[in-house]
């Protein structure tokens, strides 16, 4: 802000202090509703979860303080570890696969190819469809008599009942998630690709670098800010996966807990078992897991680019 403006204003209103106070008041009038709503429905709940993880409460009786015993209880619960295992495996498969697919498709789409807008539209569309719609669609595709097994039959393979079989149910949800989010991250990569100077590629081409070399030595390193964002978003999204598991397993996390995720366990602790404290302890565990992995990713990918 130009000092000239402020000075003129000061003369007019008499006193810099007055102007400052007026500005601060205006700023809080503008942002107070947002601050309050975010405190009540976002930051506040996050803090509240820590408190609730120390109580025993089923929503109806009086809550009483039990200290850390909820943590001890969930750490001894086999179902908790099943949910952690499923969420971690899910993230460990889906996040890298969707990132790699999104990057490859974005790089290809960044070439001068015909019908680019149509391809972009088609790849992006699944990511704006609701999880309920896509989950129902894939339940039908993964049905014993569904489309996927129809294709497999043509190849001479007799397909399983994907979502009814504990060996395949989580994989089916992985496929669904990769399908529905890869296009979104492709758009993020496309925006990142626009920021890479064309001249770098031209210079490399003159030096005789092959297309693959240019990809590895220019595109991949210079896309790091986008990659960082996508890896963090992908980790958060996959570790907290809830909708697809809930819908496809009918809320049970079955068959045989094979699709039980941490978020679904939290839901069940409160709505099926009335164990608010256990659910809150699992919530805190999920925070710590996500935060820890985000910090690790930041160490690994978060450095600024050096040209």
């Amino acid at each position: 802000m130009g000092t000239a403006v402020l000075l003129k204003n000061t003369e007019k209103r008499g006193g810099m202090e007055h102007w400052r106070r007026q500005e601060t008041a205006a700023a809080y009038m503008f942002s107070l509703p947002t601050i309050i709503l975010l405190l009540v429905f976002s930051l506040g709940p996050a803090a509240y979860a820590f408190f609730l993880s120390g109580v025993s409460w089923n929503l109806l009786n009086h809550m009483h303080w039990v200290g850390l015993s909820n943590y001890a209880a969930i750490l001894h619960m086999p179902l908790f570890w099943t949910s952690v295992k499923n969420s971690v495996i899910f993230a460990a498969v889906v996040m890298p696969v969707q990132t790699v697919i999104a990057m490859i498709i974005a790089v290809i789409m960044n070439q001068n190819l015909p019908a680019r807008p149509i391809y972009r539209l088609v790849f992006f569309f699944p990511s704006i469809s609701s999880s309920a719609v896509t989950s129902l669609m894939f339940m039908w595709i993964f049905n014993k008599l569904g489309l996927l097994n129809g294709f497999l039959t043509m190849a001479g393979i007799s397909g399983p009942n994907w979502i009814g079989n504990p060996r395949f149910a989580l994989s089916a949800i992985m496929i669904l998630n990769i399908w529905s989010t890869a296009g979104y991250f492709m758009v993020v990569f496309l925006a990142g690709l626009q920021a890479i100077p064309r001249t770098l590629y031209e210079a490399a081409a003159i030096d005789g670098a092959s297309a693959l070399q240019r990809f590895w030595n220019i595109t991949v390193p210079l896309l790091r800010p986008s990659t960082f964002f996508i890896v963090v978003m992908g980790l958060i999204g996959t570790l907290q996966m809830f909708d697809q598991s809930f819908i496809i397993s009918g809320g049970t996390g079955g068959p045989l807990n094979s699709t039980m995720t941490i978020a679904l366990l939290i839901y069940q602790e409160i709505f099926s078992y009335g164990q608010v404290g256990y659910g809150a302890a699992a919530t805190v565990f999920l925070f710590v897991l996500v935060l820890g992995l985000t910090i690790l990713t930041n160490r690994w990918l978060g450095k600024p680019i050096e040209y």
């Binding site: 601060t24 976002s42 992006f124 569309f125 704006i128 469809s129 609701s130 039908w140 993020v188 809830f242």
Partner: protein, 278 residues
Amino acid sequence: MVGSNSTLSRVSRGLYLLILTAGALVMVIPFLWSLSTSLKPLGEALVFPPKWLPHPFLWKNYFLTWKTVPMGQWFINSTIVAVAVVIGNLILDSMAGYALARIRFRGRSLVFFGIISMLMIPFQSIMLPVYIILRALGLINSYAGIILPQIVSAMGVFLMRQAFLNVPQEVEESAIIDGASRWRIFAQISLPMVQPSLLTLALMMFMGAWNNFLLPLLVANNQNFWTLPLGMVMFQQQYYTNWPYLMAAAVMATIPIAVLFLLFQRWFIQGISTTGLK
């Protein structure tokens, strides 16, 4: 480009198009398959191996689905929630974004980093405390319970802050000299200049609210408040095997989003590019 180089590039272009087309098919097939199923008689939908073309085309599946379950009510509920969420975010996010971008005030960086930190808190991880807070406020089974937690968004504030930062400072300075109030500067000068971002914000928020499954699941125990995603999933649990009806419902629920997307594709993508890069 000369000789061998251009043959090579023609080959690789062909390969690229092949990969893109294969990928695009994988993306579209589930939608086409749902559409096809939604037009089949039940018996034909369950034929294995599956057939692509319905025979005959049973358009009345859509009508019958609409009659079997309260789709109309779900549509109304989804619309009420989504419209309220869009209006709330347009007003509140742009006000907060404006203050953070344009006004120097005590505590600004605290407010800004507080909001940024909330970008990292996705709803799934706070569903339990949010449910308990909504319950304490008496908002279970109400529209307000589904609307209020979505009515401001940290992402939206961030988007609008970026937009206001891009408005040239000089435009406001003369108004400040004339002694115009901050509210007037915001409403009459700055807001009209960020219209494209407002459109992006509206689309993002509409999509988020329209597609939200978890929040209505927590809040709407009473089916009068079910939104489309929640209603469809409950419908699936009740009519487990009637895939033509289920797919008809899925197609109908997707149509509003599809229409918005086709009309405003550019702004959808712009939203991701602006919020996704920072």
